[in-house]
């Protein structure tokens, strides 16, 4: 039995190594291992493939290349220009909005944002009902879209049979590609009657006491606009949150499963927890799209500048009033007020996004959560 039950047992003759005569190390090539040390190893291993000699054409090619300084510098400059152009575009938009709404800003001052009268005939303009309509319809839409979108992403990633994943994912992404005017048309012909005849009465009966579902219901109004917005932003939230959840490493899922987690507990513990920042990011993107959405909303919201508690009541948004009235705006003040509405939309978007980011920061503060 020649095997020794020690660390050195495979292919290394320790005794021979220790007894070997050492040659001084200062001469090049002077390290000579005694044959006995290597004997077992060289016999055991297959003959090594003869070292490939690098063909000189490769070396001369590589050495003839320039240092790359110019290429790197150009690349750097190009990237800086692209990055700075973002600032430039935002500044240009902001300045155009401010310059063109100067008349309205001078006439109404801060009152523009707190007044709720909109009377082109007497030249009295206030943006509050529009801001209200934009913010409320978008938030409602997000509230409806997020649970749906998350359920679809979780279903696709964790539960759905493999053969069904492709088709559902494809259809979800197709929804994002449909032009908004098509959504508007569909809403007018299908969604509005459903909201008027089926959904509305039920809500009124069971939730009428809250006051949010009072008054007459024509099917056209804040609630219908929110529903169509929810349908429109759902694919964005769903596909981004799915990508984020997919990026949660498999070993995180296994960690939860190995502890005896059920499928849902695993999703909650590993998937949602690790992906939460990315999920919030997808919601912010969806919210941004909802805030700026114009066409479909204009077609079903009723376009009435009024702040009403009832979600059945017609309302309007910043974007839809611009779309509706810009072509018929007569008079400098009217035009200027509409442009200031645009400025208000710009600011609302910034403020809402800012609040959302603040929320993310507050939730993850002091935590090393990664954005997956």
């Amino acid at each position: 039995m020649r095997l020794k039950f020690t660390v050195y047992s495979h292919g290394f003759n320790k005794v021979a190594w220790e007894n070997a005569e050492r040659v001084p190390m200062n001469k090049p090539g002077s390290i000579q291992l005694p044959q006995t040390v290597l004997s077992e190893r060289t016999q055991a291993a297959e003959p090594v493939v003869e070292a490939i000699k690098p063909p000189s054409i490769v070396r001369s090619f590589l050495q003839s290349k320039s240092s790359g300084k110019v290429a790197d510098g150009t690349f750097w400059g190009l990237m800086i220009v692209c990055a700075l152009s973002i600032f430039l575009i935002v500044l240009l938009i902001l300045s155009v909005l401010v310059v063109n709404s100067k008349l309205s800003i001078h006439t109404f001052g801060w009152k523009f944002f707190t007044s709720s009268s909109w009377d082109p005939n007497s030249g009295d303009f206030g943006a509050l009902p529009f801001i209200w309509g934009t913010v409320v319809s978008s938030l409602l839409a997000v509230c409806m879209a997020v649970p749906l979108a998350l359920c679809v992403s979780i279903f696709l990633l964790e539960i759905c049979p493999l053969w069904l994943r492709g088709p559902i994912a494809f259809l979800t992404e197709l929804l994002a590609a449909i032009p908004s005017v098509i959504y508007g048309l569909w809403a007018i012909f299908i969604l509005v009657p459903i909201m008027r005849d089926n959904v509305g009465p039920v809500l009124q009966k069971y939730l009428g006491w809250t006051g949010f579902f009072g008054g007459s219901n024509f099917g056209v109004g804040m609630l219908t606009a929110s529903v169509i917005l929810a349908i429109m932003i759902f694919p964005v939230i769903s596909s981004i949150s799915r990508d984020v959840m997919k990026a949660v490493p498999i070993h995180q899922r296994e960690a939860a499963l190995a502890l005896g987690a059920t499928r849902w507990e695993m999703i909650r513990m590993s998937v949602l927890r690790n992906a939460r920042i990315g999920i919030v990011g997808s919601v912010i993107l969806g919210l941004g799209r909802a805030l700026g959405e114009t066409m479909a909303v204009t077609m079903v919201i009723g376009n009435h500048p009024d702040i009403s508690k009832s979600l059945f009541a017609p309302a309007t948004t910043l974007a839809s009033v611009i779309a509706n009235e810009f072509s018929e705006a007569t008079g400098d003040l009217y035009l200027s007020a509409l442009i200031e509405i645009g400025l208000a939309l710009f600011l609302v978007t910034i403020v809402v996004n800012g609040i959302a980011r603040l929320l993310v920061w507050a939730v993850t503060r002091g935590n090393t959560a990664r954005a997956a």
């Binding site: 296994e254 960690a255 190995a258 502890l259």
Partner: protein
């Protein structure tokens, strides 16, 4: 206290690949059992079959009888029940990065609805002490995230997390292969300590590790169990030529 594991005619597949072929094996309670073999020989698949983690891959399936204690895990219980009784430590440390060290250790208990704060505190302390991590982390149990400690500490945290649910069996799939020698030595000492209380099955590429920690060793090759027996015998006097070739480094 640990329990015995009896494996009869276990077969496993990944898609069309037959990764485990008719494995028959008896793993004794309260001992460490090492599984060695070249990459892709099925030893990881084997341990994943012992707590039904193998089937979490949609294309994977397993057939056969695995009795842990007195339950047949493929017949008498759901995967969730099985995994609650069997702890597992993976090759890559996988603490939950969004949880504190404390929450990581308590996660298995909290998952099952255990809320008694005083007992939780005790269990966390005891588990971290068993995993030889308590002294290093006791001051920032709730301040530091599970991912902010070093790799070796993370792996011991994962061991503590597995121990917190008081499992009967502890499966370790190359627990030290991603760690430096010092951390590896700590993990090995730990296995040595723990094996009096748990049945430990450890997959390893490192034969010295198998020799140091395990009483029994199994050698896997291309999906079959070539040889199983006392570690000392496997390493000094293997009965199969292929085992001898592998442990002397002739291949693999």
């Amino acid at each position: 206290m640990g329990v015995d594991i009896h494996v009869e005619n276990l077969n496993a597949w990944y898609g069309q690949t037959h990764t485990l072929k008719d494995i028959n094996l008896q793993i004794p309670a309260n001992h460490a059992t090492a599984l060695i073999g070249p990459s892709g020989c099925g030893k990881s698949t084997f341990v994943r079959c012992l707590n039904r983690m193998h089937e979490t891959n949609p294309i994977a399936r397993a057939e056969g009888t695995v009795r842990i204690g007195d339950i047949d895990i493929y017949k008498d219980a759901s995967p969730v029940e099985i995994r609650r009784r069997i702890g597992m430590v993976f090759q890559r440390p996988n603490p939950f990065p969004t949880m504190s060290i404390y929450d990581n250790v308590a996660s298995g208990l909290k998952l099952n609805g255990f809320r008694n704060k005083r007992v939780l505190d005790e269990v966390v302390e005891r588990s971290l002490k068993s995993a030889a991590l308590w002294d290093e982390v006791k001051d920032d149990l709730k301040k530091k995230s599970g991912a902010s400690i070093s790799g070796g500490q993370q792996q011991r945290l994962c061991i503590a997390r597995a121990l917190a649910v008081d499992p009967e069996v502890l499966l370790m799939d190359e627990p030290a292969s991603a760690l430096d020698p010092v951390s590896t030595a700590k993990i090995e000492d730990l296995i040595f300590e723990l094996k009096s209380q748990y049945t430990i099955v450890i997959v390893t590429h490192n034969m010295q590790q198998a020799a140091r920690v395990a009483e029994n060793t199994g050698f896997f090759l291309t999906g079959t169990l070539v040889e199983f027996g006392k570690t000392h015998k496997i390493f000094t006097n293997p009965s199969d030529k292929r085992t001898e070739d592998y442990i002397t480094g002739r291949f693999g």
